[in-house]
């Protein structure tokens, strides 16, 4: 929707193309961000379409073909400690890893934004109740908190999702509250209130649009942390359970083979590294693209 309109009077060119198309334009011009975006899109697409890529069965092992090195015929990336095809397991593993790596941040983004916007807009006692409750969670390091909640709930994908979501709600709430309190103090909110609009209408029309992008950018910076935490939970055996392919779990099971074939054992770690690096760089790129003051 890049509308560049030239008004007839005085020949003044006015680009009122809107905020988001400007952000998109700046993103496209940033090569690092575009490369990261491409890698992430490829990873996500390959994970989604894994069954149609003609890969080997990620669950079918072979006692003879165990720990084949990278480049073995028929097994491009070798096989793991049970003789399962590594390429297939890495690509199928992306499904679960990306899901439990991204989903908690998405959930926490919605819950944290709602809590933070309510706290920031209402202020006073409501703010105190929400923010002091949130502060309790800051007393624990996020890794410890994730492990503690997961451990208490028991292993499993849903429990991992729940524990990671709980870990990420407090920081997002805090950012949302800070941004909302800032916007709340501006005159246009007062003007909207003076027009007799109800709090929900003011929030919907005037607050959300102005606070969501900083919260969103902050949330994207959390995705790489979440990926690593999710993989860490699986590595510790309180996340995804074997034999499901998942990068953190694969890292764990291949750890005993690190002296036999270090490159092979490092592959799941490499996937986690590349993905979280790309997520981080992408979020940095998005942040700087959004940061331009008009």
């Amino acid at each position: 929707m890049a509308l560049v309109e030239t008004s007839g009077l005085g020949g003044i060119t006015t680009a009122h193309s809107g905020y988001w198309s400007g952000v998109a334009r700046r993103l496209v011009r940033d090569p690092v961000t575009m490369i990261c975006l491409t890698i992430l899109v490829l990873l996500i697409l390959s994970a989604i379409f894994a069954p149609w890529l003609g890969l080997a069965d990620p669950h079918k092992g072979s006692m003879i073909a165990r720990l084949k090195p990278i480049g073995t015929e028929g097994h491009l990336l070798g096989t793991d400690e049970q003789g399962r095809d590594m390429l297939a397991r890495l690509i199928y593993g992306g499904r679960l890893t990306l899901f439990i790596g991204l989903m908690p941040v998405v959930l926490a983004f919605f819950i944290g934004s709602v809590l933070g916007i309510i706290a920031g807009y209402a202020g006073g006692l409501t703010n105190t109740i929400i923010m002091r409750t949130v502060d309790v969670f800051f007393a624990f390091p996020s890794v410890l908190l994730a492990i503690a909640i997961s451990g208490a709930l028991g292993a499993g994908i849903v429990n991992s999702l729940v524990s990671l979501t709980i870990v990420f709600i407090p920081p997002i709430t805090r950012v949302a509250e800070a941004v909302t309190s800032g916007v709340r103090a501006l005159d246009y909110i007062d003007a909207a209130r003076a027009s007799g609009a109800k709090a929900l209408t003011v929030i919907r029309v005037h607050v959300i649009g102005n606070v969501l992008s900083p919260i969103f950018v902050y949330a994207t910076s959390l995705t790489s942390v979440c990926m690593i935490l999710a993989a860490g939970l699986s590595f510790l055996g309180i996340g995804v359970r074997p034999p499901e392919p998942e990068w953190g779990l694969m890292l764990n099971t291949l750890r005993s083979a690190i002296y036999v074939d270090p490159w092979l054992s490092a592959l799941p770690g490499l996937m986690i590294f590349v993905t979280s690096l790309c997520l981080n760089l992408l979020s940095d790129g998005v942040r700087s693209a959004m940061n331009v003051r008009d």
């Binding site: 501006l186 246009y188 007799g196």
Partner: protein, 352 residues
């Protein structure tokens, strides 16, 4: 659509009290802000932002409110429009008391406000059209968009060019016109202009002032015009109200105050105005120091700490707002004008 087309403000609240009824009467308005501190956020002190302010605004007149920063001008404005809850006092709009016959929602139809910061008072993510139409939509007035377009044309911004633009594409003067249009879109009868032209360039300020004068005549509006610029206040106001530390110290017709300021504080405000004559410059500052802390205002007359004429009575007894004998409608709160006050110089022309 031409800019000269007559626009009416449909949907205005009907006149209830007739022309003799003051549009707004404020009685003993009071607002203290708590200062919290300590471990449990206990109330430590009270900022006496507005303390017993009373005044009235007639239909069709413009009341200018002047005073130093922090004297309670803006708090008074926010109390009148309901953005801040009042602690005590009465607000009577066209004969109807707020909280009684008049609901806060109805008051918001009748009173609108234009803020000082023209940029911060427009949502950067909304188009001009949406910003103006928002209030009308909320209030369920018919044809909010058409209303917005007509008002844009009236304040001198062609709707075909500006309706879909965003605030950051406009200049300060254009944005302030939009803010005026937004206030008018609610069809108010009273518009509070809180330093509405203070942040503008002098030339743009003059344009906006003229626009305000035109709109006042055209729509039969009543203004409360808050400013620290006495010249601007004189230009637009019928009466002036002077505030000091949350209290009214002087109120009266603009010409009466201009020719003879009755309160020493008003006097010093006027002598602080830059002179147009280079041979007649003010050499000594008319008023020294900052106003006292409103958390703990001085006993007696609040101005006595900075007043040249302060006497012992000023430190103990607060003066009442009394009418000047020679000019009806001109009131001042100073012991100098009250022969019964016990001030040794009361009744004499000490200020010259």
């Amino acid at each position: 659509m031409s800019a000269t087309e007559t626009v009416t403000l449909p949907g205005s609240l009907a006149d209830k009290g007739g022309p003799a009824q003051a549009l707004l009467i404020v009685k003993d308005l009071r607002k203290y802000f708590p200062v919290r501190g300590g471990i449990f956020g206990r109330r430590q002190a009270m900022v006496q932002a507005v303390d017993g302010v009373s005044f009235s605004v007639e239909k069709g007149e413009t009341l200018g409110i002047v005073g130093e920063s922090g004297c309670g001008k803006s708090t008074t404005a926010r109390l009148l429009i309901g953005l801040t809850e009042k602690d005590a006092g009465e607000i009577i709009f066209d004969g109807q008391g707020l909280g009684g016959e008049l609901s806060p929602r109805e008051l918001r139809r009748g009173v609108q406000m234009v803020f000082q910061d023209s940029y911060a008072s427009l949502n950067p993510r909304l188009t001009i059209e949406d910003s103006i139409a928002f209030g009308a939509r909320v209030q369920g007035l018919d044809d909010p968009v058409g209303r917005a377009h007509r008002l844009m044309a009236r304040v001198g911004l062609d709707p075909t060019r500006f309706a879909q633009r965003y605030p950051h594409e406009l200049s300060g003067g254009q944005r302030q016109r939009i803010n005026i249009a937004r206030a008018l879109a609610m069809s108010p009868r009273l518009v509070i202009l809180d330093e509405a032209v203070s942040a503008l360039d002098k030339s743009v300020e003059a344009q906006v002032l003229n626009l305000l004068v035109d709109l006042r005549g055209e729509f039969g509006l009543t203004y409360i015009f808050i400013s620290h610029d006495l010249n601007v206040v004189r230009y637009i106001s019928d009466r002036i109200l002077v505030m000091y530390l949350g209290e009214v110290v002087e109120v009266g017709p603009v010409d009466a105050i201009w020719s003879a300021q009755a309160h020493p504080y008003t006097r010093s405000l006027f002598s602080a105005m830059p002179s147009m004559d280079p041979d007649n410059r003010t050499k000594t500052p008319p008023l020294s120091g900052d106003p006292p802390n409103p958390i703990d205002p001085p006993e007696g007359c609040r101005f006595h700490t900075r007043c040249r004429f302060a006497d012992s009575v000023c430190k103990t007894r607060a003066p009442k707002l009394l009418e000047m004998p020679q000019t009806p409608g001109h009131l001042a709160a100073c012991h100098l004008h009250d022969p019964a006050s016990g001030h040794p110089k009361a009744g004499t022309e000490v200020m010259g």
